[in-house]
Subunit: 270 residues, 2 copies
Amino acid sequence: MVREHALYNGKLLLEKEACLPITNREVQFGFSTYESLRVIRSHPVHLEDHLIRLENSCRGIGLAHPFTQEELKAWVYKLIKIDLLEEASVRILLVGGKEPMCFVTASPLLTYPENYYTQGVGAITYEGERLMPSCKTGNLLLNYMALEKARSSGGFEALLVDRKGQVLEGTRSNFFAFRDGKLYTAKDDEVLLGITRERIIQATKILGIEVVYEAPLAKDLHAGLYDELFVSATSMAAMPISTLDGKTFKAPFERTNAIKALVRSWELED
Amino acid sequence: MVREHALYNGKLLLEKEACLPITNREVQFGFSTYESLRVIRSHPVHLEDHLIRLENSCRGIGLAHPFTQEELKAWVYKLIKIDLLEEASVRILLVGGKEPMCFVTASPLLTYPENYYTQGVGAITYEGERLMPSCKTGNLLLNYMALEKARSSGGFEALLVDRKGQVLEGTRSNFFAFRDGKLYTAKDDEVLLGITRERIIQATKILGIEVVYEAPLAKDLHAGLYDELFVSATSMAAMPISTLDGKTFKAPFERTNAIKALVRSWELED
């Protein structure tokens, strides 16, 4: 792995040359969309799904651009080839405006220690609603602040709670919780339609777990009505939660880890 | 006016070199604050107020940085001097994180044709609530989308309406409306504390206009309960609204223009 290049509108640059002009209005307003994906054994995992979601995000916020899915795909493969990427995270960034910009960059693959999966991670709840939750955009201040708060107390993730007290999703993850053997998660239109979330739901079908599309209430999570919680994301697959706002959930997280194993097994298939 | 430089953490650069690394996490999350101010006759208008608000924005979102107000002030004066700025808009951008970045850049002074003030401008209402309205941050997607919608129908500004139906502020302005001779505007904690808004309120005292801190409801504006509307901002001073969602408000906007004249007269005083 060399990892020193980036692509800007298909043009090869050194990564350090890939930067955003600060006088550009769309840069100033965060009028942008993005995707992050995993490269495993030089294979961009679920690339098609990421490109479709990127296009949905653009449509959602009205970001017009001239780049075709075929071009974006070719640029991702080009970066993988040029920088000999075997394992990496790849980010596609689209900035709107009169002269849209597309950047493709790579960073080391984001992985977590194995004990995160066996022992679980800490999480907190954080009140706040994302603007246009189904779109992945540069409008991420809420996510940043919520995650900072979680980290400042040693936590791994913050879960966003809406005005109704529903726990919808994490700052960079979807959220799931078991109650009476069923798996609860927010409705599709309330959250980011995670590509891993979709795989989680596929896994529940194989494992015979019923999914209920109803976001858990924070107070019900605190009251112990749910007995196994996890977050999902490209980098995490399914990551069990051991504490939420100080309330403990006990290992082993067998259902979460069974789901995780299935989700990971599908990464090289597409 | 030369206008070809920028300052990065106090260091002089060419403006075209002033850019944001796209792999920087705080850039990706829009974890930033900013101020825009007018330079008139080489004088940075209300610079102290802008620096105080910048600091409040940083405090609001938890953006720690090592730059003192004295340094920021010196950098603004340095750019004015080096680029011989007589009339300009100057922007101060702070990006947070482990290695905070401060950029000072200039652009041509934003002005509007005189008939905007005599004939008024078009506006629309747009449903949406800003995150942390008192802070000026890079989290501006809502503002961008709302303004695009206004512009696509030939309008000048979009006014944001909250879940209670209150018209709080514009995408880059504060909002005021006269009803029975009194001037209504949102409460301080619901909106950006505009530096021009503060001057508007000073002007009302001189003009003997009573200010009521209660945001007009969109339905009451549509129903004609208010008879003169305007938005305020650094670039606009007070700008009268001639149509809101198609409803007409008639010129001459005498009270608005009287306020505007006073506000502009104070620009060279501090």
